[in-house]
């Protein structure tokens, strides 16, 4: 297997300094080139899991291997896209996308590479703009181009379209599918939207909360483009809803308890 997540546990300390299980016994194998969604209610540890794969966060126990190598720190073999575009405002679009290439490439090559990926996200005309001159959706596309420019084997995406409006999101879903078909990256895609995960991925990992565990591993083998298979998509949605309902109820009742006790 390409990505191997083995018995990963993560604890954080709460306000009273007591350890809290955020991730518990996470085991997951992902094949090369697979598009895997990680789906779960907010607070279940999706971002924490992705951040561990990125090498930005350490596990409490357990380890992750990619292509047989244990992850200890961030690396250019894993590109990351966050919910906020996280572009550097002092750099132009072109300079942002060449940021990861500065050390290993000549300027001209870096710019050629950057342009290729900017064209892939249809922003070839915006290379000399600054991030503040772009809409949220465009910024997110630049962030995707920036992650792709390093030519990583794995693309980690943490609710990348979560802050965008419905129309923009739908358009970017289409673009991401095309990019994935074209580049054959392995994608770990975090989302809390059931329909988004069904629309995009080969496989959905459903997570439960407190502690964060894997509830279900669902294979989605609906042919693409999936818009033409509404019925099958709804069936899977119903199936996932059943599992998640319990989890969402758990979150809601906890929040109510919290609200009542304060």
């Amino acid at each position: 297997m390409f990505i191997e997540i083995n018995d990963v546990n993560k604890q954080y300390n709460d306000k009273e300094n007591r350890p809290v299980d955020v991730l518990k016994d996470i085991n997951l194998s992902v094949e090369k080139g697979q598009f895997v969604s990680i789906l779960g209610p907010s607070g279940c540890g999706k971002s924490t899991l992705l951040s561990i794969v990125a090498g930005l966060t350490k596990t409490t126990s357990g380890e992750i291997q990619i292509d047989g190598k244990t992850i200890t720190k961030p690396g250019k073999d894993r590109g990351m896209v966050f919910q906020q575009a996280a572009l550097f405002p002092w750099l132009t679009v072109m300079e942002n996308v060449t940021f990861p290439l500065k050390k290993e490439m000549k300027k001209k090559d870096a710019e050629e590479t950057a342009l290729k990926y900017l064209q892939m996200v249809q922003l070839g005309k915006y290379i000399s703009h600054y991030p503040h001159e772009l809409s949220g959706g465009m910024q997110q596309r630049v962030a995707i181009a920036r992650a792709l420019a390093m030519n990583p084997e794995t693309l980690l995406m943490d609710e990348p379209f979560g802050a965008l409006d419905e129309q923009t999101r739908t358009r970017l879903h289409g673009q991401l599918e095309n990019i994935w078909t074209e580049t054959k990256k392995t994608i770990l895609f975090v989302t809390h939207s059931i329909s988004e995960s069904i629309k995009l991925s080969d496989r959905i990992i459903v997570m439960g909360t407190k502690p964060g565990i894997i509830l279900q591993d669902i294979t989605v083998d609906i042919p693409r483009p999936r818009e033409e298979h509404k019925k099958e998509m709804l069936e899977i949605e119903d199936h996932i809803m059943k599992y998640l309902k319990k989890e969402i109820d758990k979150v809601v009742s906890e929040e109510l308890q919290y609200a009542n006790s304060h």
């Binding site: 951040s51 990125a54 090498g55 930005l56 961030p74 690396g75 250019k76 894993r78 590109g79 990351m80 966050f82 906020q84 996280a86 550097f88 405002p89 002092w90 940021f99 990861p100 500065k102 050390k103 600054y130 991030p131 503040h132 920036r146 992650a147 390093m150 980690l156």
Partner: protein, 251 residues
């Protein structure tokens, strides 16, 4: 536009009151000279080049003092922003020193360097350094963790991470720090010059006062105020505005 009109009317009223009051001799010219005599004193000063020499001398000291204070301030700020131990020890001292008016350092400066150019520049440096250091420190502490995480996933670490991400991300604070350092250094320089030897705007101010030339005193004060305002409004505030916009810090 509205504001501009209000301002013009306001200043016109002050100028009219000033000139008419002087002509009607509502106050003695030795207490407060007329606008026209201040104006002619300034014209005379520029014609015989004394004010020009003063301006050049003051700006030379300011350029040296401010440059050094920006460099030292930036370095101290980086140290405080990056090292917790330095922040907890040196940081507390800098914070305390910042509340000491810089002219208070002049007696020490005179004992170290004598009553000369060096002493005045020393006071100017101290005027700008601490405020620059504190702003630089805040800038570094306030860099969005998201920028750092994003940069790390793109392979940036150590010095590379600092020069390519952390420092540029804190530029808005560098600009604010520089603006305040300029304002503080300018005040410190004028105070220092008042007490030292010429040429210089501050020195001429005291010299004119000693000889009872109120027209020159008021004229030089107007120059000092105008320079302070022009540099602040037309240079620093403009840079600050465009940086805030570009860095996406507008609320």
């Amino acid at each position: 536009m509205q504001t501009a009109i209000k301002r013009i009317i306001f200043f016109a009223a002050i100028i009219a009151f000033w000139e008419i009051g002087s002509r009607l001799e509502l106050w003695h010219p030795l207490i407060f000279p007329s606008l026209s005599s201040v104006f002619s004193a300034l014209v005379e000063g520029f014609q015989d080049k004394t004010l020009i020499y003063d301006l050049i001398a003051s700006f030379k000291r300011l350029a040296v003092g401010l440059t050094i204070s920006l460099i030292i301030g930036t370095l101290i700020g980086i140290l405080l922003g990056k090292s917790k131990t330095a922040d907890e020890t040196l940081g507390a001292v800098i914070l305390a020193l910042q509340s000491v008016p810089s002219i208070v350092w002049l007696p020490i400066a005179i004992m170290w360097f004598g009553l000369n150019e060096k002493a005045v520049i020393f006071v100017t440096i101290l005027g700008g350094t601490f405020v620059m250091a504190l702003n630089m420190r805040t800038g570094i502490k306030n860099v969005s963790p998201l920028y750092i995480k994003a940069a790390q996933t793109m392979g940036a670490t150590g010095v590379d991470l600092f020069t390519r991400v952390i420092f540029p991300a804190s530029i808005p604070y560098v600009v604010t720090g520089s603006r305040l350092a300029w304002a503080f250094a300018w005040r410190a320089l004028m105070a220092g010059e008042l007490l030292s030897t010429g040429p210089g705007l501050g020195y001429t101010l005291r010299y004119a006062s000693d000889f009872g030339r109120m027209d020159i005193v008021i004229g030089v004060m107007i120059i000092i105020g105008a320079i302070g305002m022009i540099v602040d409004q037309f240079i620093f505030q403009r840079i600050e505005k465009s940086v805030i916009k570009k860095w996406g810090l507008e609320s």
